[in-house]
Amino acid sequence: MAMTIKSFGRVVFIALVITLSYRLQAQVTYDRILKAAAEPHNWLTYGGNYTSQRYSLLTQITPSNVAQLEQKWMLQDQVFGAWQSNPLVVDGVMYVTERPNDVMAVDAKTGRVYWLYRYAPAPESKVCCGANNRGVAVLGDTLYMGTLDAHLVAIDAKNGKPLWNVAVADVKLAYSITLAPLVVKDKVIIGVGGGEYGIRGFIAAYDAKTGKEAWRFYTIPGPGEPGHDSWRGEDWKYGAASVWVTGSYDPDLNLTYWGVGNPGPDWNPSQRPGDNLYSDSVVALDADTGKLKWHFQFTPNDGYDYDSVQVPVLADISWKGTPTKVMMWANRNGYFYVLDRATGKFLLGNNFVKVNWASGLDEKGRPIQTPQPNGMPTWPGNQGGTNWYPPAFSPRTGLFYLSAWENYSTIYRRESATYQPGGNFMGGGPGPNTPVPGAPSVGIGRRSPINNWTDAVGNGAVMAIDPQTGKPKWKVTQFDVTDGGMLTTASDLLFTGGREGYFHALDARTGKVLWKASLGGQIVMAPITFQVEGKQYVSVISGHNLVTYALRD
């Protein structure tokens, strides 16, 4: 059949439209990840780039137009439980995980799903605090996901088919993986959870092509290794020190930094005398070999479950007049730290919430511990002054942003615990400190749309800390506590949310709330931003919805 001129013209028009809507899609090389900050239309690693600053150069959305944001699309997850995943965006395609170990490839402009990969973790998988997965890593055309049964799976980013699958640790011993892996060069770096089950934690690197283990660093030193004497007898074998939040990387120093979790049993420190290295520490590892370069321990012989799994935030700032490579860290133990990330030297530490488990830090940053008498409350409480939710840093404002829990405390119960492979190993537990005995209290995640615990047991705050002083420059309090992560931009906006389901845009310099949306579900991860076809988007997960905003067309 001959084509008329009119229909020919239509075909050309359609072809043109299709061509225009094609986006440049290329492999995510290591070089691109290294320079991720230079392509702010994408979100290529858990923290946006290797510094984990969660600072984007996108400036289309500004303080003066942020009120014009409108919802563009919404994706609902199909599973039960809190949704803590951090999406990646690669050239218009978003990769997001949902419980327990599903991965979805989503069109970042429309929210429609290209493919869904479902990995079924072994039924004996054990996680203390939710079947979470916090996201994937990408290299080339491959995605990498840690699983609840402690496997590492490589997935084809184009079609969602598994490429390889290796066991990282033994699920029968209650090892699990909930964090998003970090790709450095040709390796995928991962850590293991299980801090309530007497694991021996480690960080390991795998060859991205083959899944072959390249190195392994135990977060508890074995016999003959430095730091082993910080444990008594056999305690090191089941001393926990899990790793459940993604680390950062400094390419100049070739060091990768990871936060390490609580020692086990969690709440009975007298059962494991010693500093219990490297629990509650940050470790700096050679990215090629996994060799320890330095460590800094925030809470020696921790009896409060003060996991140091916060994201290491790296920045090059002027420190007392000298350009310095620093690491900033708001810790679960209630103190904010600035460290020299080349050496691990302690530069500054200051508490950002009420603290009574220590009376202060000595000149090396070691806490002067003041354990409270039995039955008396400890500040901050078991969930900490802050926790795993990612903070942000803006090189423009020079401020470090975090979600904090204020006026929140816990009464600890300490019991002796016996290690049994794969079993609970906690040594007591945290009890609430409420104004009325038996009244409701806060816990992990929001349990009801009715806040019947109220600010009488603690409140949330967005804080902007000046790393030069360690003191908050401003803060915005919230009635309920918050697990919202942070996103900041070069237009001096700060996006965050909380358990109440409000999604906020704040002025990053003053903390003024410029815009908010009531999304209804708890926001338990940081928002991300990206750009498709010249339009800047902001995505946030609230409850069971991943909601994406952009300026009104």
Partner: protein
């Protein structure tokens, strides 16, 4: 913005408190069994009861003495009667040889949850308690149970499921100290000068939800309010007009609501 109640508001409560404090202080100890009684109960229990009921009180099926789970008994009187008369059908012998003080000691030990350092609240007759609730005690003037009564104070239809006997006793004698923070009374002055009083149902950073004294469900945007006060003082008067026995009856009734 948030502050305590005005003097005008708390004045009547203060008067009541003072009035009753003197009455209450005399009889307060009567609401509970004494540590001596509980201690004596432990010795008697070990000698007379533990062979069948076990050291933890849970050897007989359907019965957990330590946790207050019985087949028939509700009140302390019921317990005393079972001990004295036995339950021949179920094979429990009568302990008629025990003096009344001994029986009281056993009840005290059971009510203390087998904890010699614990507190044992007296639990009376739920039927009499229900009558008091609707009448003399004045509870029904504000509280609703199973669809009957006003909604201004918290509905008590399932209060026995979330409160223990000691918590109920505390709530009756010193309401403010037992009030869950969410239930705190709220006083609001809107921008146009209207005053609204009610009980807090929910709150977040920007809004508050209340039921007001006319049983209306209202939400306020905090930024729109001239005044917003949440008080830690309960509007409930302490139940000090009740005798020790009457208090035990009301607690017994409340415990049945679940």
């Amino acid at each position: 913005m948030r502050g305590p109640l005005s003097l005008k508001q708390i004045a009547p409560v203060l008067v009541l408190l003072t009035l009753v404090a003197s009455v209450a202080s005399a009889g307060q100890q009567d609401h509970q069994y004494s540590p001596t009684e509980i201690q004596a109960g432990l010795r008697l229990y070990t000698a007379e009861c533990s062979l069948c009921h076990g050291p933890n009180g849970d050897l007989m099926s359907g019965i957990d003495l330590r946790r207050g789970q019985f087949r028939r008994a509700v009140s302390d009187e019921d317990l005393a009667r079972v001990i004295t008369n036995g339950v021949p059908d179920a094979g429990m012998p009568a302990f008629a040889k025990l003096q009344s003080a001994d029986v009281t000691a056993l009840v005290a030990f059971i009510r203390a949850g087998f904890d010699v350092s614990g507190a044992a609240v007296k639990i009376g007759d739920p039927g009499r308690g229900q009558t008091l609730f609707a009448g003399k005690a004045g509870c029904a003037a504000c509280h609703r149970v199973n669809g009957v009564g006003p909604r201004t104070a918290p509905d008590l239809s399932d209060i026995g499921a979330s409160r223990t006997a000691p918590a109920l006793q505390r709530a009756l004698l010193d309401p403010s100290s037992a009030m869950w923070p969410i239930n705190r009374p709220v006083r609001i002055v809107t921008r146009d000068g209207k005053t609204v009083r009610g009980r807090r149902l929910n709150e977040d950073t920007y809004t508050v939800q209340i039921i007001d004294d006319q049983e209306r469900l209202l939400t306020f945007i905090k930024a729109d309010l001239r005044e917003f006060e949440v008080s830690t003082k309960s509007t409930m008067p302490p139940a000090t007009s009740l005798s020790s026995e009457e208090l035990a009856d009301v607690i017994a009734y409340l415990l049945t609501l679940k």
